[in-house]
Symmetry: C2
């Protein structure tokens, strides 16, 4: 059997959404590539009894349990203590660790120009240097050490990791090398994951294609394929996990998806639209400029998410006010007065304005009603016009989006990237 791991993410701020958890998904992906199956993540607030219950739930049917967060200097940072209790281990001060953390904290405070009193520092350091007996100490990378806490009588170990994603990720190689973790990994069978992305059709068509495929080839599950489908910002994503033996069954599934969706299936190797657009731009040595109204910079910001974006992103314009569309992009005020700022004509003039202003190969113009106010019977909330000007040739798309201001703006960015991809691929 494959090795199974369970994740426990701690922190009331995560539970209530004041902080988005990035550690649970990151760990799940890391473990998956190592062939360790992750079926459940529990998010718990900073409360002793909830954390203990979550640990016991995950320990019951897993080979390894990982925790994130709750290792800081404040009193609501309980993880080390509660893990020790659940694993039946006493806590003790590790003097050598205390000294190392003390040095890190001292350096950090000097670096930031902070000078808390020595007593404040000593108390914080001492709390973070308390470790369960028999635990392996990892790091620390920041101020908090990681821990591997073995269970009683060969019961599964708990790998305790810090909450800041950069610290957790930096500590990961050392965590994998710790003996109790290595023993679990030795039993893991690597699983392949394939990702297919489709832009255009409704989810029901995908559901039907999968059903039709199963009628010919038997159930996906019995063929050894674990298929997950989801819609993200209007795009269909088909993720399939399978052991090497099921590679043939996956090939048949991929062929069926290609047959069914043709050009709408735009990537079958895990690339996102961002990757495809970047490759298309680099391949033709093209540059791009943006002109955004309702998205107000989010499209340019997303294009710059990728390292190396400076090879094609020259810049862009946030023209939130109509006057800015005229002064910065040269959209005639008379055109805006005649057809309205949210129109095909203005989107196209914005795209062309951005392209000519910055002398790029491509320009993208986005104008829409993000809501909640500003809608009319003619131009309701969610109406968006997107245009691409590629070397003087124009592409245009009008969409009517639902789901509120945030969703409208996010889906507009996704749609604009897809229109740019279409234009570049033409």
């Amino acid at each position: 059997m494959a090795a199974r791991a369970g994740i426990v993410v701690t922190g009331t701020e995560v539970l209530t959404g004041r902080v988005m958890d990035r550690n649970g998904p990151w760990l799940a992906e890391q473990l998956r590539t190592l062939g360790v199956d992750v079926g459940r993540t529990v998010v718990v607030g900073d409360r002793r009894e909830d954390l203990a219950a979550a640990l016991r739930f995950q320990l019951a049917d897993h080979d390894l349990v990982l925790t994130t967060g709750g290792l800081g200097p404040t009193a609501d940072d309980l993880t080390a203590e509660v893990v020790a209790e659940v694993q039946g281990r006493a806590m003790a001060l590790d003097p050598e660790l205390e000294q190392r953390i003390g040095e890190v904290v001292g350096r950090l405070n000097r670096h930031r120009g902070w000078s808390p009193s020595p007593e404040i520092v000593a108390r914080s350091v001492r709390k973070q240097a308390m470790v369960p007996e028999a635990a392996t100490v990892l790091g620390p990378v920041g101020t908090a050490p990681g821990l591997v806490v073995p269970g009683p009588d060969g019961a599964p170990p708990v790998l305790v990791l810090p909450g800041p994603p950069s610290e957790l990720q930096a500590m990961w190689p050392e965590a994998l090398a710790a003996d109790p973790v290595r023993a679990v990994l030795a039993a893991a069978v690597p699983i392949h994951q394939a990702e297919v992305r489709i832009w255009g059709p409704p989810e029901a068509e995908l559901a039907d294609l999968l059903r039709a495929h199963e009628q010919v080839h038997g159930s996906l599950e019995s063929a050894g394929l674990e298929v997950t489908t989801c819609i993200r910002d209007g795009e269909l994503e088909v993720v399939t996990r399978f052991a090497p033996a099921a590679a043939g069954a996956y090939d048949a599934l991929l062929a069926a998806l290609r047959d069914g969706f043709g050009d709408q299936l735009y990537a079958d190797d895990g690339r996102a639209v961002d990757d495809v657009v970047a490759e298309l731009l680099l391949a033709r040595g093209a540059t791009v400029a943006t002109a955004e109204s309702c998205t107000a910079g989010l499209l340019a910001g997303r294009i710059a998410d990728r390292p190396g974006a400076s090879a094609y992103l020259v810049g862009g314009f946030v023209t939130y006010a109509d006057t800015a569309k005229t002064t910065e992009l040269g959209v005639p005020a008379s055109l805006i007065a005649e057809v309205g700022a949210v129109s095909r004509e203005v989107a196209e003039a914005m795209a062309t304005g951005a392209r000519t202003r910055l002398g790029t190969t491509a320009g993208i113009g986005v104008t829409g009603v993000a809501g909640p106010g500003g809608g009319t019977a003619d131009k309701p909330v969610g109406l968006v016009h997107i245009a691409v000007d590629l070397e003087g040739r124009l592409w245009h798309q009008q969409v009517q989006l639902g789901g509120g201001r945030e969703v409208v703006r996010r889906r507009t960015v996704a749609t604009a990237l897809q229109l740019l991809r279409t234009a570049l691929a033409d």
Copy 2:
């Protein structure tokens, strides 16, 4: 005792982070304001046995369990079926529901210009119209109905909600009105939540202030205060939950925080820096323009996150290439050649350029090394210069950030908003 609810978020795409869960946190907050305590959220993949285990775990010590997602037309949408099994209920087709979903799907397809075959539609609709016996049907808002599935012999009910956040949120009022949910809510005791935000000091100082406070006033817990602290984008957030009887103890804590942090404590009523900046801009009738290099639009995009931002956001410039800094913002090419694009001088020239170009009250300039490439010994990755030009008066801040490209860009946006707040509040 207060009512307790547990949340189960379904979807392999959520577990592995391809989709960020927004439902768990949203529901936790909604329940909290109703006085229902939420201690744990379980995220499970689309696998029958994991979902069943998660439901049983949450049902064991809660008065109500909520699920999100897994109600779509594809075969990996299992939630209704597995909830029925765990609650000991058979599934049956609801013909009236089948007709209603059919109408919704028909409208949706026409609206989007999709025309899947009638058989495809009928199969999808039928799957979504299968409901557990004795369940209350909610909606549907989109195509998937919500369900309230009672437990056997008075055991806790499960409230089954759809995955798309807009559908889930639109269904929420109807869910609260369903009899089994109302019975749970009747036992809830409203809990007050207070949020304090502090910009500047290290977390250790906060930890120490809280410890000192406890030495005088006794433990926070025994005073009825549940205090959670976290750092978000460099900001300290102190969230305190308490029943009405502990209001006096909270007042004493707040006074201690004000004493200890002075002006660094910039909001004690839940407002975020975005809210404070918007209020300061509106109060003086000020307008703002941005000039962004490394953040490439994310700052303007964040200012426009708030509805009504058009009252103060005129527009902005993404000047990713140095040439764009010169042509769009009038930053002298000689200045860039002399001191480099990442410098105090260029940040200030960008702020002033944006302000004068768009004729606004304030301009913000951001330039930095987001990484992973582009760093030098002199100007390492994470070095960022931020400037605000408010009616010709300049503010400047230099920061050295860690944590990788994404974190550097996000923290830069947060720091820029704080500098704008400082300038406006001066």
